[in-house]
């Protein structure tokens, strides 16, 4: 196997190809829609996993989710730009730029202060959006019909299929890139920073810089996630894009997935989406009970998240190694 095509990359390639084929040829629209929403969210979770491996949890990444979503929506509404090859990268870019700017402040904080400072920034954006009538205030506004290579369609199945294939492609690419990143020298500074910041500094690398880079990466991925979600739902509003519950949901799925693999966010996010759907169908007014109970079970019995179960079943319960991909729960 070459340096690039290792086992994880092959697994990701086969896995995403399989999901894409199933989506196009087998899955009904409602399920394809669920996968689209789940994989969109998984992009944000992928970024949070990188932060988690660094020992950092953010309770405010709805900030970047919302920025991505509103960027896509505003480009269509205000500038008439609906081309997804422009709007989606723009979503990631805007989130990355804001993440870069805020990163200078945020990188100085750790633990609960890191988590809550992110929340504070996200609530500022929430407040601004709620008070901005030009952006629909609490009601938000509709997202223009997206186009690809300048071609748009009113056919909802075609639109769904295109978005589904796009999220599979971007999901695969993001997972591969993050996997390569975690295998790099800089990527090894995730667990290293978590373990011992003093030693990292005295080996000659800036901890602040290392954290800043990972923060920007997570912001960009979360912005992309918000962009995809806006396109999938066709609507943006503060409550469903920027509220603290969105941040909480992202952390929920991160814990559920586990940091053991770049594939985990996609599996965890899909299971979360299906769990929520069926729980809602079963007990419409108490679905949170089932979802919350599931998270409790994961925390108690699978502290490394669902991925640790997959690792054990597959006999891949590897030791933690920088340049490899081992989970927090496997410490």
């Amino acid at each position: 196997m070459t340096q690039f095509m290792d086992r994880t990359v092959i697994g990701l390639t086969l896995g995403f190809a399989l999901v894409a084929l199933l989506g196009v040829f087998v899955l009904p629209d409602w399920l394809m829609s669920q996968v689209l929403i789940a994989f969109s969210r998984a992009l944000a979770v992928l970024g949070l996993v990188v932060l988690w491996r660094t020992g950092l949890i953010s309770f405010g990444h709805a900030l970047y989710f919302g920025l991505g979503a509103y960027t896509v929506a505003m480009l269509g509404k205000d500038l008439g730009v609906t081309e997804v090859l422009i709007t989606l990268p723009a979503a990631g870019l805007v989130a990355a730029v804001v993440g870069f700017a805020l990163g200078f402040i945020i990188r100085k904080y750790r633990e609960i202060f890191f988590a809550m400072l992110n929340l504070a920034f996200s609530m500022v954006l929430f407040g601004i959006l709620v008070k901005t009538e030009a952006l629909g205030s609490t009601d938000g506004f509709s997202v223009e019909q997206p186009t690809l290579f300048g071609i748009g369609t009113e056919d909802s199945t075609v639109k769904l299929t295109v978005l589904f294939l796009a999220v599979c492609t971007v999901g695969w690419l993001s997972a591969v890139l993050v996997h390569r990143y975690l295998g790099s020298v800089l990527g090894s500074l995730t667990t290293a920073v978590r373990d011992n910041e003093i030693r990292v500094e005295y080996l000659g690398y800036s901890v602040a810089q290392a954290i800043h880079g990972k923060y920007v990466m997570s912001a960009a991925l979360t912005g992309l996630a918000g962009g995809f979600t806006a396109l999938a739902l066709g609507q943006v509003d503060p409550e469903s894009m920027v509220n603290w519950t969105v941040s909480g949901e992202l952390v929920f799925v991160t814990v559920l997935s586990g940091p053991g693999s770049v594939a985990a966010p996609f599996i965890g996010s899909l299971l979360f989406e299906l769990l929520r759907t069926y729980a809602f169908e079963l007990v419409p007014y108490a679905w949170q009970l089932i979802v919350g109970g599931t998270l409790l079970a994961v925390i108690f019995f699978l502290p490394g998240g669902l991925w640790s179960l997959i690792s054990k079943l597959g006999g891949r319960d590897r030791a933690a190694q920088p340049g490899g991909n081992r989970g927090e729960g496997e410490r």
């Binding site: 295998g183 020298v185 090894s188 373990d195 500094e201 000659g204 690398y205 920088p322």
Partner: protein, 269 residues
């Protein structure tokens, strides 16, 4: 003497407390210097100022002719001054081998090279060679948090050395090590350092270690250097005996040699 490290008029205060007072020293290339002093004498403050953890209140530190006063630790590390710690600073959840791989990865990488893969065959071979050199290869795949104290200390020093520094500062390398292990550990460390031709400054409380391994002693008391001499002279200096060695059993031997106490007094202590 060509000084590789110079400190001039170095002062450090924390509010009303003076931790370093007018320190003036010059360390020659390849020297092995022992820094001694009672707790709170200013030894670690001095090491922390040289390695950038603390910024001096006044004074200057020059390394290889370059002013490094107030530079960040990572900048000073990159210039060629590395350190180990009183409490070993390693990556506790990583294996011994991975600790070294990370250290080598950072030392090797500049700019965008940090995005290259960590696990390169050549780097792995070097990590293994370093483990053998510091005689900790048998612990290669053991997680650092499970290591005995002495092995963790060796790993800490080995990690500090991967950047091939010109100066290494060791902060109490034998603290927490049993009496039986301390000479073994120091023999391994000093022979490895000698091969590299590195200038060494080490903080040490154990006068037997000081006497055996250093060529020059800096004795600190209340933030000042009260003695700067070869160990044969420094360890019988009345001020060093009074303010540094004190009533320790080792001090009795020193006092006897200095003619400050009759032989045999307190020998059962």
């Amino acid at each position: 003497m060509t000084a590789i490290l110079e400190a001039s008029g170095l002062n450090k205060t924390f509010g009303a407390v003076t931790a370093a007072k007018d320190i003036n020293i010059a360390v020659a290339r390849d020297e092995i210097v022992g820094i001694i002093g009672a707790n709170g004498a200013g030894k670690t403050t001095f090491v922390n100022m040289v390695t950038g953890w603390l910024t001096p209140t006044s004074g200057a530190i020059r390394f290889d002719g370059r002013d490094i006063t107030g530079l960040a630790p990572r900048r000073i590390t990159r210039l060629g001054i590395c350190r180990s710690f009183q409490v070993a600073q390693v990556f506790m959840t990583a294996t011994v081998f991975d600790n070294l791989m990370i250290a080598l990865g950072i030392a090797d990488s500049h700019g965008l090279a940090v995005l290259k893969p960590l696990r390169l065959a050549e780097r792995e071979a070097r990590a293994d060679a370093i483990l053998r050199r510091y005689r900790i290869h048998e612990y290669r795949d053991q997680v650092a948090s499970t290591l005995p104290q002495g092995i963790r200390k060796l790993l800490d020093i080995a990690m500090a050395m991967v950047a091939e520094p010109k100066i290494l500062l060791l902060d109490e390398p034998t603290s927490g090590i049993s009496v039986e292990e301390k000479f073994g550990l120091m023999d391994i460390v000093m022979s490895a350092l000698k091969e590299d031709g590195v200038t060494v400054l080490f903080v040490e409380h154990d006068m037997e270690i000081v006497e055996r391994y250093v060529g020059r002693v800096l004795a600190f008391y209340q933030g000042e250097i009260i003695c700067d001499a070869p160990p044969a002279q420094a360890l019988i200096d009345p001020k060093v005996i009074e303010f540094v060695i004190g009533d320790e059993p080792q001090g009795q031997a020193m006092r006897e040699r200095a003619g400050l106490a009759p032989a045999g007094e307190g020998s059962d202590a």
